[in-house]
Symmetry: none
DNA sequence: CATGAATGAGAATTCATTCAT
DNA sequence: CATGAATGAATTCTCATTCAT
């Protein structure tokens, strides 16, 4: 019973992810979502109050999943570079293994799909990384610049890989991931 | 007559830019574009075959403007770093001075607003930068990695600044621009 | 058990009255009725065959209550004017004391909310008043006109007071009730 | 051109009148209105901003028509009784000759179909009658009671006739109209 | 009897596009 | 070329009713 409940909810989230990441928010009618989730159109509204709520919920869910993956194995006592490296590879691993999710997040980042309040809420999940950067700055390992800049050079580029990969123009090999991390690290470190 | 022609066409492009960058592609009805351009709805179809064509045209136009700005003062004989620096600051200067255009481009980058073919077409405008990178690689100044990686770390982060700025969370000072360039350069250089 | 039965039925009727008199028939979803009655949506259909039946039943119930109140203390042997006066004040007393019921009846009177057959059925409850009028006509105290006219001037105006009161434009004082009765009586009497 | 404009607008108003007076506001979908007006569904929104606006407009239009009819031939210098009589017969004449309009008004009177603001607006059309009553009170011909009471006994009963007639239970003959006026006059006069 | 999730037939409204003037 | 009313398909969302548990 509870399972069935959860089942339909996640079927809906999953269908939404599929469709939005492939065709974009506004080219994804509720009817299609319902169909793909094998559910009646009206049923959606038993789980989400409207389309915005559905997408917001999906965003929060994925952001949560992503952040969990990102901090897998991370401990606060780690040396800064080791921590940054772990998180960075966790992130790219998640994005490479979950292209739909990655694409969805990427779409949300640069658009007004997701409610402002929800996006803000999701931002707080990154706090451990911000803390780590701050420690790195204290240890003079990481450049003493705004976290926005650090984010722009250490995290944001990942979105580009995914967006490009979507269009089959590019495949990110293991070796390239290594290079990519080195570039990210060079950008943000003082050394 | 030709002038009037051009006038209406650019009025339409300008109106589209205004509305799309503020409200997104799908929240911008043709009727509003027409109104803002002070033109009848039907008239749009004398200049563009449909909404997609209108947006594609706008994208090409802006991308062209942006690339022109980016290569302002650039000459092929320049030393690599000097060239990269010039282009980078040109780019950020354009984006800071033209927030609507920057926002529009940013929206197009990670979505399916613009036709795939058109986006590809626009990519070729960057050829001089790709050439410069290639020269930099030959001179062993720039990392020997895929241009996608170079792009991801040297150009793509600019979009983040704009997207964030749009939401009033952040203002990019002159000093930060300096830091930012240093980070970009550190990412892509071998030194 | 029977009590519980009756309990739920009247809880449903009461909830319907509340909601319909406040928001109108078509702005009152079954789900809300169920919620207010503290009952599951499906349960309604154990007591009423559909929404129409529910509202029809409510109408009959209230009309019954209203008529009972109207004839409270009335005896067939009463002098005509006394009888008319008693009934008239009973009616207005009921409507003033039960604004929700009054409003509901008023809404039903001029619309297609209630089935035609049910409305006809309810009309018969007024028979004693019709008889009284007839006696009054025999005694040449009451105008020799169609009972429809008598109704229009002696009973129908009450609905107006309620409808107006609903909109807070008007409060019917004791003195006004007196005047109002005098007006009603003047309309229908021969004297 | 202008005619066509007006034509469609009035065709829509007329269709709305037909359908709402027959089936009620909430049983009258926009699609049916469009069909009856021989117009596409979307066209409605070129003339009215939404369903509420359409009905409000219709109400104002009819109320206007009704009031014009009511004051036909009326002059402020008329003796009070003559004036009241003229207006009263004008009103009933209008309602008898225009049953759909009468029914529509009657439905609006006791429900929340029409916006409160619009109803208030329409009320002002009756001002000449209120003025006449006031004069009658000054001359001590008309009872010194709230205009609400006067309205309830002199105007409101007309709605009942129409509502009843709608259900084919009753036909209002010329003679009955005479009686009816006498009743109304008896109700409101001091004599 | 009671539940409440599921259904799916509409309902109001929007909007890109056409075409007669 | 310019106009803008007209179109009608598509979209989001509601709600009376059913039925498996």
């Amino acid at each position: 019973m509870t399972d069935k409940n959860t089942d339909k909810r996640s079927a809906l989230l999953s269908a939404t992810l599929d469709l939005v990441s492939n065709h974009g928010f506004h080219n994804t009618p509720m009817a299609k979502i319902a169909k793909l989730a094998d559910v009646s159109a009206g049923t959606i509204y038993n789980y989400f109050s409207n389309k915005q709520d559905l997408v917001d919920s999906l965003y929060l869910h994925i952001k949560d999943e992503f952040t969990n993956a990102a901090f897998q194995g991370y401990e606060e006592e780690m040396p800064v570079k080791e921590g940054v490296k772990l998180i960075w590879f966790n992130m790219i691993e998640y994005k490479v293994s979950n292209p739909k999710q990655a694409n969805f997040l990427s779409q949300c980042e640069n658009s007004q799909i997701v409610s402002a309040s929800v996006r803000e809420q999701a931002l707080q999940h990154l706090q451990p990384l911000l803390d780590l950067w701050e420690r790195g700055q204290a240890e003079e390992i990481i450049r003493d610049v705004s976290p926005y800049l650090l984010y722009a050079y250490a995290v944001y580029p990942l979105s580009f890989f995914v967006a490009v990969k979507k269009r089959d123009e590019f495949h990110l090999t293991q070796e390239m991931q290594q290079h990519s991390f080195e570039m990210a690290w060079s950008a943000i470190t003082t050394k």
